[in-house]
């Protein structure tokens, strides 16, 4: 495996994991909070809870690792390979949060991934250089 392949795979893994685990931690935190009333104060309290903070930290890491990956990899590569996250997220919903996932929801999730992969097959630039 070349150096480029290695760092691309490593960062793809980091991007997918920080996104999926960030959403998962955020969900744990918000479920613990129970109902949110609409006051800004209740949002502030939610943000300060440990699980939500962990979620936000992971999602910030997700943003930076994705920006780093995009600095050498094509968006049209990054978009489809990271869309595996939608499937992982559904698996986590089912086994970790014991959510009931109907066949309709599975097909919906798979169609979304199919749509993203299809768009990933097109050229990443259709506008003129420095337009």
């Amino acid at each position: 495996m070349s150096r480029l392949q290695f760092k691309t795979r490593l960062f793809t893994l980091i991007v997918v994991l920080t996104n999926v685990l960030g959403n998962t931690a955020l969900t744990v935190g918000m479920k613990k909070m129970g109902a949110l009333d609409s006051s800004p104060l209740s949002y502030m309290r939610a943000i300060m809870s440990p699980w939500v903070l962990l979620g936000i930290t992971l999602l910030i890491l997700w943003m930076f690792s994705r920006m780093t990956l995009l600095s050498w990899a094509d968006l049209s590569y990054v978009l489809p390979v990271t869309s595996i996250g939608y499937i992982l997220q559904a698996v986590i919903g089912k086994y970790f949060f014991a959510e009931q996932i109907s066949p309709w929801r599975w097909s919906g999730t798979l169609l979304i991934v199919a749509g993203i992969v299809l768009v990933g097959l097109t050229s990443p630039r259709t506008t003129k250089e420095n337009a």
Partner: protein, 121 residues
């Protein structure tokens, strides 16, 4: 019902943020120097631009609505439902950013739309 309203807020604010961000980054021109120090200086210079300030505000709005959505809906609903932003963004890219969206991209956006529609079943 409340969950679809929240999905609407998330999708609307994400799409607005992404369009504003794209306009400002295209106005800046292609980034060719990826050294961390240079990137940091570039972001520091770009951040005060009005469109990027608005971008941050809309992203925050989208994030708060996502937090709220997680309290009223399953994670396996919330994550794919917000993918509807792909569809709105494809439309806005064509109409506002004048990108030429070919058949495969429309087909991709249509597949995503069908996928989100299935979540309503």
């Amino acid at each position: 019902m409340i969950r679809w309203i929240l999905v609407g807020v998330i999708v609307g604010s994400t799409a607005t943020a992404d369009v504003l961000q794209t306009i400002e980054m295209k106005r800046h021109g292609e980034v060719s120097d990826f050294r961390p120090g240079k990137l940091g200086r570039m972001f520091a210079k770009l951040l005060p631009r009005p469109f990027l300030i608005l971008t941050v505000i809309f992203m925050a709005l989208s994030f708060f609505a996502f937090m709220k959505l997680l309290t009223v809906a399953d994670l396996s609903f919330a994550v794919p439902a917000t993918a509807a932003s792909f569809v709105l963004e494809t439309l806005l890219a064509r109409l506002l950013l004048k990108e030429s969206v070919d058949m495969r991209r429309w087909a991709g956006a249509a597949l995503v739309a069908c996928g989100v529609a299935l979540l309503a079943v």
